[in-house]
Symmetry: D2
């Protein structure tokens, strides 16, 4: 048995140096954060491994957008699955809007009058919808008859004027999936056209062919989840199709196992389903993504050239 | 100010009698549970109000299936939005399978060998997939060219051999939405056909027309959420289109506000978005659905003839 | 394996009837609530079993005071351990004050000006301190030289003018422990006298003799925890001294295991310490006490004559 | 309004550099962590401010011991309040024992046979009790008639053979309080002597004089809480006596507000009680202490010479 090594800090440390000490402590959230970095590093460096990244929660209103874009540009991940909200927030920023530092105890009726939509303590200007409406209207013809949501999103990325998660996926040919795209501001914009009797042919099940094929043909697979929801579950579902189940797993969320939902389920539960290899290296960390993601990214950046 | 009235129990009480006492205590989870029943009662009895029910989490593996079916049959709700997992578990039971009482600390590798998929401490027999595969194969032709997911689900309900959530919605003409249907066992079954180059035309955005139309034409709207995820968010999105935002709201979940995601966001946050009327009657309750749902249903059953 | 039996509610049910159905569902929070009642019933009916009740959290501001008093009067429990806050709130009510239904989002500075101390959404009138000050001053001579905190509390109970938790313990000769009594409003009142150079001889460690003796001489022991903190830990510590460790255990809390503290630790962790018998009947339930306690009490009331 | 500045990481960063970026993002847990460091820095640098540190939870089994000792040695804090468990774990390590990296899913009955006490995923060797028993027996005469728990603990620190939290407090003349000292392994060791009819005169209320005096005579006060429980509440209680209530506050815990207990209560609740100045700089962060404490310490180490 390894002892718990107490973290001792005597001089300025880089993020990775601190993470190494957390790893050496080896227990509780600190130890799990250390292990998370180790496992992310291993799966990214493993040439045979396809890395599936699931993103849920307010990552863009929470300041994580550049890190996500850089993870894609670094080609650390091979597949991205996310929520409609993340793509909406991302598109909003790509169109020149910002999110703002707010107050969770603000008067919501007053925010509504002033045109700010609250996301806990981050504010999204409601005007973002006007910009998106114009953008979608301008490009509607190019979007409406994409066959799959992934094709729809790559086209969206291609059309996006500035740096974005969506555009980074398009440019780097990283498949981007969003099964519940209709449940989002982007969905609302598309609805504006449907309501005028325009047809939008994008199919609900079509993407399954592509993500299942990636899973099926992978030599190994690794999963990284920030948050749960559809992104995690959709990747987990694909893991059932990988020849050897997932070989690596990192789950970071504030959701808990005991309500029994997929979002908070421990990764080991996936072993019973054949989603996770019993011999896989995996770790569950209960921590807010806005703390864990920058630390993990900064530490990996020191480790991976 | 009203005093906290201590709950005093001197003789056997019906569930509703106990809930009345909790309401009279008036604070913390007990008070909020009392208020939840009051608000559900009010929105169900309000003839002008369309009630939107969002369901997420392991409700079928958790024993809530009959209650959900009865809420639909009673026509207490006008719209149901749920997850693919719930519909998969529901279909499995309609095909004659059961979920089993298990152990959250079981050996997952052994469960895998024995063919049981663990959902926290509930087990789903893996054979359920065989039954579903046959069922979907048998009816594929009837399902593949439905235009919207709602139409697909009503058809599924029509075809379902026994009582089910899906069938209850079909029979009672309650619109049933599931934006992320592809993220589920049902999705997997459909994928089996896509993989053999069959076409499935169901459209991703199509349902928005229908749910938005219901919202748009409602005189009043009420929302009841057990769990968050896509079901809650999709309904909240529709609330932006109701003429007066939601007039009633009950949210029951184990998710918390502070990670900033939609699932745990307090209902009042919706005021800033124009999803919730500032004058609405609403309550957030942090409680497991498997405790809250039977209590609320039993209490309502005593109150609503 | 037992199937998950879906809860079906067709007519008004008593609380115990609903709990039986939850027990028959058998999983997740509902199943655990059912099991909690079964285990409480078993330990209370077991004539050889000493029942240790740990109480933490805002049970009096939350409306649970009468239930606690009745559990003591019924002699369902043999030992009570609680926090200084609970005894302070209890004494306040015994002196004629009430707690009030408030708003968690109230303006705290305004509440301060108006003389209300907020406990989440329950308000305690600050005047309670005046009444307590008079009460303690009047009886200081009788309290100051009690040797143990338990003796101090029984004396407090004896002096209490009306029904109270403290008085119920005194009258029924149920030992009441509160290791951190100095950390409370009662502590503050005593400090007022210490500050005037009066001596208060009550000893910090003295109670250990009594609680350990009860544990040591018990044939069997059962533990019921509402909340964690010192009350749980103090009882758990005593369980190390019981001849056979605890034979029954029910833990109900909103605290979680993963931060690693005693409050949220699962009962099975106690097996490693020799606090819990590996063959014990025990259950952990993550649920707010203000919901679980009335349900459990009401169900037990139907079962225990 | 300030925009949410996305965290961008292009080169190795020191911990403080990353924290600055989190502060600039400004929202959610990352923003709160940034603010936590700012407020800790401000209160430590404010010469007029007495800093009260509350420590609860498994900080020693979690690898935080050296950081806590260094915070004391740096004289960043003026008062420390903690749990009996922390002092027990600390004394165990000072006597040469270690905690070990374990598995939360281990077989607890087997751990019991092997002599390891589990603290989530950290193991404490049961032999620690033998060493403590000898140590306390050897020094019992010097400990038994200390008048207050603080005096008892300083004496314990004086006697401790190696570096420890307790000894660091003694050597640096930092008052160390532990109201529930009897609820701990140290308490158990003292009980061993009480059981042999030895007298231990340490008084339960006595410390209140000292902590209240420090609060009363402070020009300003700041509070830092890792975890809740008695340590937080005992300091909060003292804040009622400071002339101006607390001027700074940082609370880091995994406990939540909604159960209504003191542990998870937001700091702003203290304003209603007169514990927190409405104009104070304060922040609540929901994060595991084993992640937050090393980051905060490392960042402060870069900022404070």
């Amino acid at each position: 048995m390894k002892p718990v090594n107490h973290i001792k800090i005597e001089k300025p440390l880089t993020v990775n140096e601190l993470v190494r000490k957390m790893d050496s402590a080896g227990v509780l959230a600190a130890g799990r954060l250390g292990k998370s970095v180790n496992i992310c590093e291993a799966m990214i460096k493993d040439k045979d491994c396809k890395v599936f990244l699931g993103l849920a929660g307010p990552l863009v209103p929470g300041g994580m957008r550049e890190i996500i874009i850089d993870m894609i540009k670094n080609r650390w991940v091979d597949v991205v699955v996310t929520t409609g909200a993340t793509l909406t927030h991302d598109l909003g920023e790509a169109l020149g809007y910002r999110h703002y530092q707010g107050d969770k105890d603000a008067d919501d009726a007053e925010l509504h009058r002033k045109g700010f939509d609250r996301v806990y303590e981050s504010y999204m200007p409601n005007k973002i919808y006007e910009g998106m409406e114009d953008f979608i209207a301008k490009h509607f013809e190019r979007l409406k008859n994409k066959k799959s949501i992934r094709e729809f999103l790559w086209e969206l990325g291609r059309l996006t004027p500035k740096k974005s998660i969506c555009r980074a996926c398009y440019e780097n040919k990283i498949p981007l999936f969003c099964p519940a795209i209709s449940d989002s501001g982007i969905g609302l914009m598309i609805w504006g056209h449907l309501a005028r009797n325009r047809e939008v042919e994008v199919r609900a099940f079509e993407d399954l062919k592509e993500i299942m094929d990636i899973a099926w043909t992978s030599k190994k697979a690794g999963v990284i989840y920030f948050g749960g929801g559809v992104p995690k579950n959709y990747i987990q579902q694909a893991m059932q199709l990988t020849p050897k189940s997932a070989s690596y797993g990192v789950q970071i969320t504030m959701d808990r196992p005991e309500p029994g939902g997929s979002s908070g389920a421990e990764l080991k539960e996936g072993i019973s389903w054949g989603k996770m290899d019993p011999k896989a290296r995996f770790v569950d960390l209960i921590c807010d993504a806005t703390i864990a993601m920058p630390i993990i990214y900064a530490a990996l950046k020191e480790r991976i050239k």
